[in-house]
């Protein structure tokens, strides 16, 4: 019986095979890209039939083919091709990369859209290309100069420092008004995350976002205009940065290992007068200015004392080359069941300053399960990370006098440069988010997501003076807990010919809690272990708790007709516990429209125009502030003073509450800051997607900026907060991306973007009266907010040179009194000659004029990639044009107090023109240390400099080992590269680096210059 069956079976095959052979044969073929690498998951379909196949891991496919079939091969990111099948063909199909990103899917708020249908100002950035070449502590520093309108500045060279991100101009007064945040909102995979801790709860100064491993990020999308951002409501006025993490792709499991080590070199340092030069300079100052009876310290007079006969270059001793290592490994894969992605990362970058550094340990797992044949998709993400920033105990100064012997000198053998102790800053973060999206009907999708985030910052500092053996011991723990619960319903029907509609309705509830506990003790030995113990005998602890909640309802409707005419509208209401009772809820509407004009018949025959879209949007979004209970009028229970005594808390052991003198009293109608933004954009892609042009023009009016206004001293209160000022930001953004492929082997991609921004204060309370803020160095130096002038504008005293002789000092004819100098000083020869604007014969606040604008006019970047066979060269540069800054770093070093001698290093006077005797044409007035009020003043129009710079940020030379060499070794992708980071800066600024300047225009390098790194990397793919 079996044999018969077998026989029939055999017969059957014998019969069918020739027919197949004759009529149609089972063919196999391979799909590869231009470099010859296999393309996984490409689909091959016979036109007009349902027969199709997918290429496997090796790019091979099998398909029943007949003579004359038209084979259509397509894959994501490549151009589709059609070929007529002829039996003799060797089926090797090569696909050309599809440069046009029009039908890329772009992640937008609470969903995604194809780029063609986008109507908001959205820029995306693939992180893969960047993280391949560069290593940095935070992904923001890698985004520098790559997205138009996003101005990112690194203010300090210290590893782990927080960069400054400003999108589309400044809309918050940054000086001592910390409450208004000008930071954008950071959203990772749809969930807003903690991006900075408010000063009240900050325990460590490490950049909170530095624990997000850049190699885990697939793509960063920046929502710049109101329509794209308004869906995030009261926190989105300064832009939203959506981060999408890498997910597994179909096909063979992708295993990637990327290891690199870099050497950090010391860049240009501060100028110093060494050894005998310092003695001459100190002697000169004493000779010129010392009052009778004041003698030089004995370290300068006692010339025979061997201890002081040195010329030590302290900066050279303290700064030296350091090593940065970065290891990343990831396993990712996808299949019908869903996808999985597990990644590990370890970064250890030593600072070039002794004993400083930054370590990051990060791991992220991301899994997706498809159930009920794709009707139910469950996403789970778990991310754990720890950053460890080590700093020096106590404040280490890098500029000791050059007469002091270096620790390497035998005379002081066995001494320690630093005080005893340590200063460890550790930030941990655990982020768990899971969402379930359920497709009720094929166009209706309901998604619920829950996210828990917990960050814990720990600081342990112990420093002890060797003389008194008294040590101060501080341990601080700051915790933040975020809970987010979000439901969205998304209905995306398509009907009629080309009508497509997307309706989104959602609700989200968030609770942000933050807690800080600080314990400090004065004891002779380190008492506190890393974990915070509640106070013992002479420990004193303080703790603080704050929480705020947010409840929002939002909805968005997008309609497109044949992807030609696009309309969009969104609305969101936010209620927050921070706002005063009177107006707890905010409304944030926005509308937008777009027209893909290239689809019109008129342009049909412009084949060089592949794509063209005009889009416009208008909307309202908001910014909120840090303090959780500002509107409720908090009472203050007093705080420990600098010696941990209770003087400010109790009197005779009894303690009580006083009002918070700084925030004034209860203020019901405090509300968030509203930003109305209009945006018109043009997207073009030309010459079959070789050239892409994006132009945006925007105007952002920020109303009700939170400002403090001073109260009379007799009231007892310092300031009171008010929604006071309106600020207008106008600007143009321009992006040009080209990718030219001249010969088969050589191609060149270029990305140029630049943005112009003009910032102006348009309205102030009390009839546009100036708001004069009192700064830490006295009434005459506070910042001024003046209607019509830019925010942070420099209102300086107008310098007219230096008084060369007595009679140059003006005398008031009526009263015979001489002009009274700044800070009520009696003017003398050699002092700075400030212009008395209002002729009242006293230099004070009324004599200040607008002398410069620290907000950059043009910011942008220019990246170039050259590919030739296996080699590739990548150049990234950023530039800032039209900015005024002041080299306060140098001014602080020139401002000598009465006991200046011997306490720190002296600048090299030869490099600066300093006034000494009448007749000197000098830039700097007298440096008289015994003057009643120092003449070196930051607010002097003489010192305003041009802060523009062009910086080649990184240059990379890479070589990808071609496929055929890889036969023998088990890897299918090997890439070796060398990168130089912070290569060269072209600037005409006198300070070390024009980028190390804070948004308000003052040099903030604080002695930690930006290192230059040479990095060698090897990345392997299995």
């Amino acid at each position: 019986m079996k044999a018969i069956v077998k026989g029939i079976y055999f017969l059957f095959w014998m019969m069918t095979i020739p027919v197949l052979l004759m009529a149609q044969g089972v063919k196999s073929g391979k799909v590869v890209d231009q470099q010859g690498n296999a393309i996984v998951g490409a689909t091959i379909k016979v036109k007009g039939t349902t027969r199709s196949a997918k290429t496997d891991d090796a790019g091979v496919f099998t398909l029943m083919l007949q003579q004359g079939d038209v084979i259509v091969t397509s894959s994501v990111g490549f151009k589709a091709t059609e070929r007529v099948y002829a039996a003799t063909d060797r089926l090797l199909i090569e696909l050309e990369e599809n440069q046009s990103r029009i039908d890329d899917v772009v992640v937008v708020g609470y969903g995604s859209q194809t780029r063609k249908e986008l109507t908001g100002a959205v820029s995306t950035l693939k992180m893969e290309e960047i993280t391949e070449n560069q290593v940095a502590e935070s992904f923001e520093s890698m985004m520098q100069g790559r997205v138009a309108g996003v101005n990112i500045q690194l203010n300090s060279g210290e590893p782990g420092a927080t960069p400054n991100v400003i999108i589309r101009g400044l809309a918050a007064v940054s000086r001592d008004d910390g409450s208004a945040i000008s930071e954008p909102l950071y959203v990772v995979d749809g969930v807003p995350i903690i991006s900075r801790t408010s000063d009240e709860f900050a325990v460590t100064s490490t950049n909170v976002l530095a624990d997000l491993n850049p190699s885990d990020i697939e793509e960063v999308t920046v929502l710049k205009d109101a329509y794209a951002a308004a869906i995030y409501g009261s926190r989105a006025a300064n832009g939203v940065i959506l981060i999408t993490t890498k997910k597994g792709k179909r096909g063979k499991p992708q295993i990637n290992i990327n290891s690199r080590t870099g050497i950090n070199f010391v860049p240009r340092l501060l100028d110093v007068a060494g050894g005998q030069k310092e003695r001459e300079q100190v002697a000169r100052l004493y000779e010129l200015y010392a009052p009778y009876g004041v003698a030089m310290p004995s370290m300068y007079t006692d010339v025979t004392n061997p201890f002081y006969n040195n010329s030590s270059d302290w900066q050279d001793y303290l700064y030296n080359t350091a090593v940065t290592q970065d290891y990343n490994a990831s396993v990712r894969g996808a299949g019908d069941f869903g996808q999985y992605s597990v990644s590990l990362g370890y970064l250890d970058s030593e600072g070039i300053l002794f004993n400083t550094g930054f370590k990051r340990y990060s791991t992220m797992t991301n899994t997706t399960f498809n159930a009920l044949n794709n009707a139910l998709v469950i996403n789970n993400t778990l991310a754990l990370s720890r950053t460890d920033q080590t700093r020096n105990p106590g404040n280490l100064s890098t500029n000791f006098s050059s007469l002091m012997p270096l620790p390497t000198n035998p005379m002081v053998a066995g001494t320690e440069v630093y005080g005893l102790g340590k200063n460890a800053n550790v930030n941990d973060r655990i982020r768990f988010s899971s969402d379930v999206s359920w497709k009720i009907v094929n166009d209706l999708m309901y998604k619920v997501s829950l996210s828990l985030e917990y960050t814990r910052a720990m600081r342990d500092a112990f420093s002890q003076s060797r003389r008194t053996l008294w040590g101060t011991n501080e341990s601080g723990v700051g915790e933040n807990r975020n809970l987010l619960f979000q439901n969205t319903l998304n209905y995306t029907p398509r009907f009629g010919d080309g009508h497509s509609l997307s309706i989104l309705v959602g609700q989200s509830a968030e609770k942000m809690e933050s807690k800080v506990t600080n314990v400090s003790s004065v004891a002779s030995a380190p008492l506190l272990s890393t974990s915070v113990k509640w106070p013992g005998e002479n420990d004193i602890g303080t703790s603080n708790y704050g929480a705020n909640t947010l409840l929002s309802y939002f909805s968005r409707v997008d309609y497109s007709f044949q992807q030609k005419y696009l309309l969009g509208a969104s609305i969101r209401t936010d209620g927050s516990s921070k706002f005063g009772q009177a107006n707890r809820w905010g409304l944030f509407p926005s509308v937008s429209a777009g027209w893909n004009f290239n689809k019109e018949s008129l342009f049909a025959d412009w084949e060089w125009l592949n794509n063209g879209k005009i889009r416009g949007s208008y909307g309202l979004s908001g910014t909120t502030w840090d303090e959780n209970y500002l509107a409720l009028g908090l009472m203050d229970g007093g705080s420990l003073d600098r010696y941990q005594s209770l003087l400010e808390i109790t009197y005779g052991g009894i303690g009580g509450f006083t009002p918070t003198w700084y925030n004034g009293f209860k203020n019901e109608d405090l509300t968030w800051v509203k930003s109305q933004m209009g945006n018109i954009g043009l997207d073009l892609s030309l010459f079959n997607n070789k050239v892409e042009v994006v132009v945006d023009v925007y105007e952002k009016l920020t109303k009700g900026l939170l400002l403090t206004t001073a109260l009379p001293t007799t009231s007892g209160y310092n300031e009171v907060y008010r929604n006071a000022a309106d600020v207008l930001n106008r600007g143009v953004e321009f992006t040009l991306n080209t990718n030219l492929k001249s010969t088969r082997d050589f191609s060149w991609n270029m990305g140029l973007n630049f943005a112009y921004n003009k910032n102006r204060v348009v309205a102030l309370p009390d009839g546009n009266a100036d708001i004069i803020k009192i700064s830490t160095s006295g009434q005459d130096f506070g910042s001024i907010v003046r209607s019509g002038a830019p925010l942070n504008g420099f209102f300086f005293y107008e310098s007219q040179g230096i008084y060369q002789s007595e009679h140059e000092i003006p005398v008031d004819a009526k009263t015979g009194r001489r002009l009274v100098g700044l800070q009520n000083k009696k003017l003398a020869v050699g002092d700075r000659n400030f212009k008395d604007q209002n002729d009242d014969f006293i230099i004070d606040v009324d004599d200040r004029v607008l002398a410069g604008d620290p907000n950059p006019k043009w910011t942008g970047g220019w990246t170039n990639d050259f590919y030739y066979k296996g080699f590739s060269v990548n150049l990234v540069s950023t530039f800032v044009i039209g900015r005024d800054i002041v080299n306060t770093e140098l001014l602080d070093r020139l401002r000598f107090g009465k006991d200046f001698a011997g306490t720190s290093s002296m600048p090299d006077f030869d490099r600066y023109s300093i006034w000494e005797k009448s007749g000197d044409q000098a830039r700097y007035p007298t440096l008289n240390p015994w003057n009643d009020a120092s003449q070196i003043v930051n607010y002097d129009s003489e010192y305003v400099e041009d802060g523009s710079y062009f910086k080649i940020k990184s240059a990379t030379l890479a070589y990808t080992v071609p496929k055929l060499l890889l036969k023998r070794i088990p890897f299918d992708r090997v890439r070796v590269y060398c990168t130089v980071d912070n290569l060269v800066t072209f600037q005409n600024y006198s300070g070390p680096d024009a980028e190390l300047v804070t948004p308000d225009g003052f040099d903030n390098s604080g002695g930690y210059p930006m290192r230059r790194m040479v990095l060698f990397g090897l990345s392997l793919g299995l």
Binding site: L270, V272, D302, S311, T415, G419, V980
Partner: protein, 210 residues
């Protein structure tokens, strides 16, 4: 492969050589700094801003040869110390002598006695043979003189810093318990042809160890 790696290295070195042009090195003092060609008296006269009152007083009391005595050590008080002394001696400005010459003989003799408190006639006191333990000698006015070094701190490390010399004289008469009034030395070991000179601090030391 090798070509590629070497290319990377030279880029790195080329760009990063830390240029120490920022450090304007004035060099060290040569060890001849402490030598003065000339007698102690001419050394004092070579710095009028510090010693012109002292040299006039020495001349008025014609004590040049004690000061220039071979192999002696002279602790020179500065003008400001003598100025403070005169303020104390004649508190009310009206009857203060206009010039040094106008000082009455009695007071001048007393000041001559004070000058001899600063002279160690037959011994060369130099920093190298002193230590933090007291060592003694006698002044020209045969009062007991005491010398010691005091060490400062260096960057918080106790007593590892520079050492400066303290010169003190016992003001009480011989039989009574000793009371040493100290003065810090701000310029030490100036070797002149006739002996060694040290300069005393001016703002806290008053002429005559008041």
């Amino acid at each position: 492969m090798k070509l590629f790696l070497s290319l990377c290295c030279c880029i790195g070195i080329l760009l990063s050589g830390c240029d120490d042009a920022y450090y304007n090195d004035g060099g060290l003092l040569d060890n001849q700094i402490g030598v003065y060609e000339g007698t102690t008296m001419s050394y004092l006269e070579s710095q009028p801003a510090l010693f012109d009152t002292l040299t006039t007083l020495i001349k008025l009391n014609n004590m040049e040869e004690e000061v220039n005595r071979k192999g002696s050590t002279f602790f020179a008080p500065q003008n400001y110390s003598i100025y403070n002394y005169l303020l104390l001696k004649y508190p009310d400005p009206e009857n203060r002598p206009k010039t040094l010459e106008a000082i009455p003989a009695g007071d001048m003799a007393e000041m001559a006695g004070y000058i001899s408190d600063y002279i160690i006639p037959n011994e060369q006191i130099v920093r190298s043979d002193l230590s933090t333990v007291y060592s003694y000698s006698t002044t020209l006015s045969d009062k007991k003189a005491r010398f010691n070094l005091v060490r400062e701190d260096y960057l918080g490390n106790i007593n590892m810093g520079a050492a400066y010399m303290i010169y003190s004289v016992n003001l009480n008469p011989p039989a009574t318990p000793e009371f040493y009034s100290p003065a810090k030395v701000v310029v030490t070991d100036v070797a002149t042809t006739t002996g060694t000179v040290h300069v005393l601090i001016s703002d806290t030391h008053i002429f005559g160890f008041n």
